[in-house]
């Protein structure tokens, strides 16, 4: 292959103001993290709530949560994003439409759409993990807590969820990494996150290979660090005497 590698490209001027290409990557990485973290907060909160609902004896609550999961799991992420960004704003009341389309900067409205989209999409997956985590616990835990006179909410808060979350940390970690990776869909609605900045660098500088190599390395390092972080959290929360915990 006849290609002139030039790793100095990242320190060259982009021709816009006095920015260098590396600045674009830093800013892109910042948006990627901002999208993923905000989406994760929604996913974890809503997903936990839905997961609990699926295990309740109340049929209506559990049916609502089941319906949610089916809907959000069976529609492609990209389709969901386009719906949130292109269609949903048109369904809003007029004042909200003007606010979303005119008052907000294009970056902010794209950001809001993608955060809502990823948050709701990932919530369906978190829901399933929380549900399995709860259902994997021995039934006696529920009985023991009920026999003590706990309200249902207390049974979940003090007995079931602390155990369920410990069990599901590993699959939850994959979901946490997925939301960082999935955040790259934001590039398709014009949010200048890491992938969009990479494509832009490739087009501006013609150094396609360097740009995508750096993007790959950045995604990889980011996700590896998150994995290490979650591994540390898992060790910290380990219960002595259980599942390989310290004796």
């Amino acid at each position: 292959m006849n290609y002139n590698w030039d790793w100095n490209v990242f320190f060259k001027s982009t021709g816009i103001g006095n920015e260098i290409y590396l600045d674009w990557f830093v800013s892109g990485l910042g948006w990627t993290i901002a999208v993923a973290l905000a989406g994760w907060i929604i996913a974890l909160a809503l997903g936990s709530l839905l997961g609990v609902m699926r295990t309740l004896p109340n049929k209506t609550a559990s049916a609502i949560a089941t319906g949610y999961v089916e809907l959000f799991r069976n529609v492609p992420l990209l389709v969901q994003l386009f719906i949130w960004y292109f269609l949903v704003p048109d369904l809003l009341p007029e004042k909200a439409q003007i606010w979303f389309k005119q008052d907000l900067s294009p970056a902010t409205s794209a950001y809001l759409s993608v955060v809502v989209c990823l948050g709701l999409f990932t919530a369906a997956r978190v829901c399933e993990q929380v549900r399995t985590g709860i259902q994997a616990l021995p039934k006696g835990q529920n009985y023991a807590a009920m026999a003590m006179g706990f309200q249902q909410a207390q049974v979940y808060r003090y007995v079931l969820l602390p155990q369920a979350f410990r069990v599901i940390i590993p699959p939850l970690t994959s979901e946490f990494l997925n939301i960082f990776k999935n955040s790259s869909v934001a590039s398709l609605i014009g949010l200048m996150e890491l992938l969009a900045q990479t494509k832009q660098t490739a087009e501006f500088s013609a150094n396609l290979f360097e740009a995508f190599t750096l993007a790959t390395v950045l995604y990889f390092v980011l996700n590896m660090s998150l994995m290490k972080l979650m591994g540390w959290v898992e060790t910290r929360l380990r219960v002595p005497g259980m599942m390989g915990g310290a004796k």
Binding site: Y143, A144, M148, G149, F150, Q154
Partner: protein
Amino acid sequence: MIRFMNVHKWFKDLHVLNDVSLTVAAGEVVVVCGPSGSGKSTLIRTVNQLESINSGEIWVDGKNVADPKTDLNALRAKVGFVFQHFNLYPHLSVLDNITLSPLMVKKMERAAADKLALQLLERVGLAHKKDAFPAQLSGGQQQRVAIARGLAMQPQVMLFDEPTSALDPEMIGEVLHVMKDLAESGMTMMVVTHEMGFAREVADRVVFVDHGQIIEEAQPEEFFMNPQHDRAKQFLRQLLTPMQ
């Protein structure tokens, strides 16, 4: 203290409790025995409504537990329950296992709850294990903690559902000792067990259940020496000489 009146329960077609009537007076220790599948565990679980009933009435401390208006959580807080498989909370230390309900249900102060828990651990001989986690204890120790946990709500009655069936033989004694001390302190107790030594020594009455029916109810001496019903005779024979 506890009164069953014509209680019936079905699991689909299976008649698990068939017209059960039984009274446990305050301070009394009643042992319930019978072959497996006879409905004795179901019977004891209906007292605090871990199992519902289809008809009849169960009165505990002056309240009808099957009445939808009865505050079940308040009632359960007054009834201690000890499970076959202990069901300690594995993510909490021994001390936290015991203090959780006093703190959350009774809204007791932390200091008072800790003090109470330590007294109870002293009583079951496990004060030195207060910071251990359940998985670090033997089965017998876990069951003693579970008894302390039940006592922490200062219950009016303690229910035991086969408390020693999941234990290694050499751990059964330590649990039975704690239960005997409890009985001697005047606690009202209903105990599902096959420990006939315990029944003979501690129980005021023995109730024999078969096919969801109480078919024999007698003082321990009388029940062991002179069982009336053929099914009871056969059951006792099997317990004493299982190989024949």
